[in-house]
């Protein structure tokens, strides 16, 4: 389909440019910027005046809850949430039920996702069978089925010898391993950061060293094995410092943080808001500030949503019993814009954290608006304000620390592979996509 996106503010994170211009899409790609190619006959013209056009957001962690957790959310609702949030590619963790440790499950997930014609789904394969941390999965076969890397999701991996062998095995094929650093024995019994708030509220604390001790082990094993390791969801100042040091030593590592940890701290728990029960926990203001500094100096590569829809029954419980996680696909963009505004970072640079940087983590180039680039695009109104209410969210997960708050930045159009997969002018309301 030939599409002419007119007069938009084109923000190209790869090139670092921010300029108003026209963009032309055909045959799944951007074919030109500025002047239409000879003989171009647009079947659709999108008026992007006062809107920003950028490469589609790439979210390094979004739980789609299929297979297995369909009562929490379905592929339909979450894929709709993704494109409504301007996310054109998303990585889903392997902690489905059953976990993604069999090629058949991966193939089915990819097939289901493809048939919805929305965002690209990039599954992470389980690193160990059943995510139990004992036996390796058939990584090569899983890769052939479509897995882009291997992960333990949030399942602990206490046997370091198995971890070392898993990393070695992955290097055989050049596979990347994604790990969230957490020592399960140190976090045992904890539901919140072991700091001033947990002390006052009488909540079991998870000390920062639960992250840093695990991170230290992973970094050492990465060096020993030469494995390509991506560290997921850092939450501590000390963890950021360790990554800075590791990168200085030219270790092949990358890391991400959740958008919630860029903005929130333990203080936001208030009086036990279960929507602030997250994994890893929201930590101190100093940890949050160190994360911002890590994003500013490039120590932290990417920001993800860590989208985790949780049903109401599992969230509206006393804090320690509530299931952790927050819905995030539709908040990734407005919250990234907020971070850019608050930090005084120009948009081309800020949007790198959710476009070019995640692609680099995935071993891909991209995140550009140059001619020839794939036509995965997000067109959004940077000034539109909206209230975070259940009806405003397409996701079945209404669990967000921002419930009732106003955010700024709304997606108008999302294109994947050169096709418009989301058009805000056609959406009457989010509830139109729910089965009931």
């Amino acid at each position: 389909m030939q599409i002419h996106i007119k007069n938009g503010r084109l923000i190209d994170p790869a090139a670092g440019t921010d300029v108003v211009n026209d963009l032309f899409v055909a045959d799944r790609r951007i074919v030109a910027v500025g002047t239409a190619p000879h003989g171009f006959k647009p079947e659709r013209v999108i008026d992007a005046s006062h809107l920003i056009v950028c490469p589609g957001l790439v979210d390094l962690s979004a739980r789609l809850r299929e297979p297995g957790f369909e009562y929490k959310a379905t592929l339909e609702s979450e894929m709709q949430a993704a494109v409504a949030g301007g996310v054109t590619s998303l990585v889903c963790p392997p902690d489905t039920d059953p976990p993604l440790d069999e090629p058949g499950l991966v193939e089915m997930l990819k097939f289901r996702a493809r048939s919805l014609n929305q965002a690209r789904v990039l599954p992470l394969g389980a690193l160990t069978q059943g995510l139990k941390g004992e036996r390796l999965t058939e990584m090569a076969v899983l890769r052939d089925a479509g897995c882009i890397a291997f992960s333990q999701a949030d399942a602990p991996m206490s046997d370091k010898q198995v971890l070392m062998r898993a990393l070695e095995y992955a290097t055989t094929f050049g596979f990347a391993v994604w790990l969230r650093p957490e020592d399960a024995t140190l976090s045992r019994g904890g539901v919140a950061h072991d700091g001033e708030v947990a002390t006052r509220l009488g909540l079991g604390g998870i000390p920062a060293c639960a992250e840093t001790i695990a991170l230290s082990s992973i970094l050492i094993l990465a060096r020993e094995t030469g494995a390509r390791v991506h560290l997921c969801r850092l939450s501590t100042a000390e963890g950021v410092a360790m990554m800075r040091e590791a990168k200085r030593g030219e270790l092949q590592v990358s890391c991400d943080v959740s958008i919630h940890h860029v903005h929130l701290s333990e203080q936001d728990i208030g009086y036990f808001d279960p929507n602030c029960n997250l994994v890893p926990p929201l930590r101190s203001v100093q940890d949050r500030d160190a994360i911002r500094a890590g994003l500013a100096d490039g120590t932290i590569d990417a920001i993800c949503s860590d989208h985790t829809p949780v049903d109401e029954d599992a969230k509206q419980l006393p804090f320690g019993e509530a299931e952790p996680g927050a819905t995030g696909l539709e908040l990734l963009l407005p919250l990234t814009l907020r971070w850019a505004r608050e930090s005084g970072i120009a948009l081309p640079r800020a949007l790198r954290a959710v476009t070019t940087a995640p692609l680099r983590v995935l071993g891909q180039s991209g995140g550009s608006l140059a001619a020839g680039a794939p036509a995965d695009l997000t067109v959004f109104d940077p000034d539109a304000r909206w209230n975070v209410e259940p009806a405003a969210l397409n996701s079945q997960g209404k669990n967000t620390p921002l419930l009732g708050h106003e955010v700024q930045g709304k997606v108008r159009y999302t294109l994947v592979d050169g096709m418009v997969v989301f058009d805000a002018t056609l959406e009457k309301s989010a509830s139109h996509h729910h089965p009931f």
Binding site: D194, T199, G202, G205, P207, Y271, F272, L317, P318
Partner: protein
């Protein structure tokens, strides 16, 4: 970013008490109102006919998700002395075990026209969750939520201290024991600081004091003898059996030797210091019988004052 969440659930915009969930956020004036009201109820408990009609016709539900005989009984006695109707729900044996959510249980009981819920739960924050979901004219009293708060205990302890010591301002108060797991300690520290004591000390081995305990506004002592030196009030916390022999403490014997309140340790406090304990006591673990039963102990009066304080709390809430 989420400032709205911190809005105090307990107080109406005019500053009147709607729920009693925690001492946090309550100004001294509210605490003193409760203590002064309790003082008038003390005389009621000493009369022949111990009832006042203040809560006649009101239905008070004791929702105890965690077993407790003493606290529940004192709330029941207090409610009955105010002429209220009391319903006791021991949730461990009721619909909770059939998979009903906490909020569904509360909604069902609300539909039975409850006016007040007295809630005890094993999870910190349970009382706040319930208070956020009850109808406008229903009051929630936290009878203990996990490790977080036990406001009526803190109030009856403050009442006891004021009864024996007159004023709070020059007092040094020592809280000894497992502060880490103690909702009583957290509430007491807050109450004593708001009421303006000179110093609150926490005394215990490192494993029983939260890592950030000093943020609560206390002086920290690991040496019991040093910590007890010159204090006016000693509050002993109960040490639960489950804490022994695990990664927190090696044995009751070692704990008693170094932290148990014995006559010789008590002698380091002021000669007119009072000894308190929220109960039930583990004799020979945190407190020696000679001290528990001795002349400085006010442990039994605490129980009596507890009824008056709980009458005051329920009376004030129902009146607001």
């Amino acid at each position: 970013m989420v400032e709205g969440r911190n809005a105090d659930l307990q107080l109406s915009p005019e500053g009147k008490l709607k729920h009693l969930l925690t001492i946090e956020g309550l100004p001294a004036a509210v605490l003193l109102q409760i203590l002064d009201t309790a003082r008038s109820f003390v005389s009621v408990t000493q009369q022949e006919v111990k009832k006042v009609p203040l809560l006649r016709g009101k239905a008070i539900f004791n929702l105890f998700f965690e077993p407790s005989t003493r606290t529940r009984t004192t709330f029941e006695i207090a409610a009955k002395r105010l002429s209220a109707d009391v319903v006791n729900l021991n949730i461990a044996t009721s619909s909770q075990t059939k998979g009903e959510t906490l909020l569904d249980t509360v909604a069902n009981l609300t539909a039975m026209n409850a006016d007040m819920f007295i809630v005890r739960h094993a999870q910190s924050g349970a009382a706040h969750l319930i208070a956020r979901h009850v109808g406008p004219n229903i009051h929630v009293v936290n009878a203990g939520d996990g490790r977080h708060a036990h406001p009526t205990q803190a109030l009856l302890d403050a009442f006891t201290i004021r009864h024996y010591k007159g004023s709070f301002h020059e007092l040094r108060v020592a809280i000894v024991g497992d502060v880490l797991h103690s909702r009583v300690a957290r509430s007491e520290i807050q109450a004593l600081n708001v009421l303006g004591v000179k110093e609150v000390r926490v005394i215990g081995p490192r494993t029983l004091l939260p890592r950030h305990v000093q943020e609560l506004g206390v002086s920290v002592f690991h040496d019991a003898r040093a910590g007890l030196e010159g204090v006016d009030v000693v509050i002993m916390l109960r040490l639960q059996n489950e804490r022994m022999g695990g990664p927190l403490l090696p044995s009751a014997g070692e704990y008693f030797k170094y932290y148990g309140l014995t006559p010789d340790k008590l002698a380091l406090a002021k000669s007119d210091a009072i000894v308190m304990h929220p109960g039930p006591m583990n004799r020979g673990v945190e407190i020696d019988s000679a001290v528990a039963d001795g002349g400085q102990s006010v442990i039994l009066p605490q129980v009596t004052f507890g009824i008056a304080v709980r009458m005051a709390v329920m009376g004030i809430l129902a009146g607001n």
